[in-house]
């Protein structure tokens, strides 16, 4: 537990290696509004769906940032040369690996909450107070699910490509295929199937239902499905990391493959 919490804390502190507090605040305030406004106004101009569809979808998809930053943080361990020390340590891998997701998940939730606040202030979409606990549950689910994919991307980046590239690919894939902007039934069948296998897809659907007045029992299957999706990605990443670690130990290539 101590290792888990320490990893979570220092992952958050590590955020300010590349980002100043003022930049962080600027992005926290401006980015959710701008991103939601951009895609929602395109959707409104297109007229395919009501504005609320795009507002809720794009507010929820911001939870995907948790995955993006988790993927980046793993790759940074290798870039900064601290990965060998982590692997040489007797620390519990589970705590070490998953501990770094905590601060990113909380941060993603904060971003989504700010996005929803802007959606209410700027676009007049007011979600009744009574629905908020359920919406927050959907947001938490989305962030957890995205974190699982982020872990997998971090390990994949260690093997092959740059984490930033994969993270951006992930963000754009979620924008396109999670149902945030395009209903899945409008996508080609293959892409719709891929969308079903992505995190956030079912949480977004649940959030829309909750905002429309559905209760938690009605959306519970969707939330559980999204959690399961994230868990699958997370477990795959943990197993893959173990393989990579074993391979690197035998080949003496911990700093790269």
């Amino acid at each position: 537990m101590r290792l888990f919490l320490a990893t979570a804390y220092y992952t958050y502190r590590g955020l300010f290696v590349w980002m100043t507090p003022s930049m962080y605040v600027a992005q926290l305030i401006l980015l959710p509004l701008a991103q939601v406004a951009f895609f929602s106004l395109i959707g409104s101009y297109g007229g395919g769906q009501p504005l609320d569809f795009y507002l809720i979808g794009n507010a929820m998809v911001i939870a995907g940032t948790s995955g993006f930053f988790i993927g980046m943080s793993i790759n940074e361990e290798r870039a900064l040369g601290t990965l060998t020390y982590l692997i040489a340590s007797p620390a519990n891998r589970l705590a070490l690996f998953f501990g770094r997701t905590v601060s990113r998940i909380l941060e993603a939730i904060l971003h989504v909450v700010v996005a929803f606040a802007w959606v209410g202030l700027a676009f007049g979409l007011v979600i009744p107070i009574g629905h908020w606990p359920a919406i927050l549950l959907a947001v938490l689910t989305a962030a957890l699910s995205a974190a699982g994919l982020g872990l997998l991307l971090g390990v994949a980046a260690y093997l092959a490509l740059d984490a930033g590239l994969l993270g951006n690919l992930m963000i754009f894939t979620l924008l396109l295929l999670s149902g945030a902007n395009i209903p899945l039934d409008e996508l080609p069948p293959a892409l719709a199937l891929l969308g079903q296998a992505l995190p956030l897809t079912h949480s977004i659907e649940a959030a829309r239902a909750l905002a429309a007045g559905a209760g938690v029992p009605a959306v519970a299957p969707l939330l559980l499905r999204d959690l399961a999706t994230g868990l699958v990605y997370g477990v795959c990443s943990f197993l893959l990391f173990g393989r990579v670690e074993d391979f690197a130990r035998r080949r003496g290539t911990l700093e790269g493959v």
């Binding site: 980015l31 406004a37 590239l165 902007n181």
Partner: protein, 260 residues
């Protein structure tokens, strides 16, 4: 002028070669216009008056501005990190010429996202991509590139002079997309926000490009857009030159040229 042209072009060439191996620029130049263009086509095709060229142009503009924003703000910082800034300042060529060449190199890459966006609409979806006013569109593209190049030149010293400003610059990507009407008319924005976009060169670039591609602008309207693009470019360049002088004077006074 001639003694600056060769270093300018050489700097642009080096930037293009460097950028070819830059994965981040690959995302902006290829992935972003593809993803945003694809989303825009799906979202806008319900309109009775939908033309794929609108999504293509808008997606290309988003990539162009992102290239300029991130390329411009990081230019001087990257020169510092690479240890080249002091040598460039000591060189007889003005620093603004070298940085201007670097940014122009990034701008040259914009042809890639434009072509990607075009291919997306024309090949993937089978939409006809017709430019109704090819001559006007070509001039508009050139003026748009020039104006955005000037913006990049402004971002470079701005980002390094005041860190607080740099924080906000980094978050400007989507706000500019929204204010300048890249993929929807600014009439959708609140009335008090609409004039804000008109102060920015990307707004008139989008106005001219969308107008010439759809053939919806009259000659006077197009001339006005070009005039405003030129005027904003000139004003931006004057401001950028002043900021470069300010940066150099401050750095040489403080001895912070090599400071990180």
């Amino acid at each position: 002028m001639s003694r600056c042209l060769r270093p300018f072009l050489f700097s642009a060439r080096v930037q293009v070669l460097r950028a070819l191996g830059d994965e981040f620029l690959f995302v902006i130049a290829l992935v972003q216009p593809f993803a945003i263009g694809l989303a825009a086509i799906f979202m806008l095709r319900h309109r009775a008056d939908f033309e794929a060229v609108y999504a293509v142009v808008g997606a290309g503009l988003t990539a162009l501005f992102s290239l300029i924003l991130f390329g411009g703000t990081g230019t001087i910082t990257n020169l510092r990190f690479s240890g080249n800034l002091e040598h460039l300042v000591a060189a007889p060529v003005p620093l603004i010429v070298v940085v201007g060449g670097q940014i122009m190199g990034s701008v040259a890459l914009v042809l890639v996202p434009m072509l990607v966006s075009y291919g997306l609409g024309a090949w993937l979806f089978g939409y006809p991509i017709a430019i109704r006013d090819p001559a006007g569109f070509t001039v508009s593209v050139l003026l748009a590139l020039l104006s955005l190049w000037a913006m990049g030149l402004l971002f470079a010293p701005l980002a390094i002079l005041w860190p607080a400003v740099n924080s906000v610059l980094g978050a400007l990507e989507y706000p500019v997309y929204v204010l300048c009407g890249f993929l929807f008319p600014v009439l959708l924005l609140p009335g008090w926000l609409q004039p804000l976009g008109q102060l920015l060169a990307p707004y008139w670039a989008a106005y001219a490009l969308h107008g010439t591609s759809s053939g919806s602008l009259t000659a006077p309207e197009l001339a006005l857009a070009w005039l405003l693009l030129l005027a904003l470019t000139a004003a931006t360049l004057v401001l950028a030159a002043w900021l470069f002088d300010l940066f150099l004077a401050r750095a040489q006074r403080d001895g912070s040229l090599a400071a990180l």
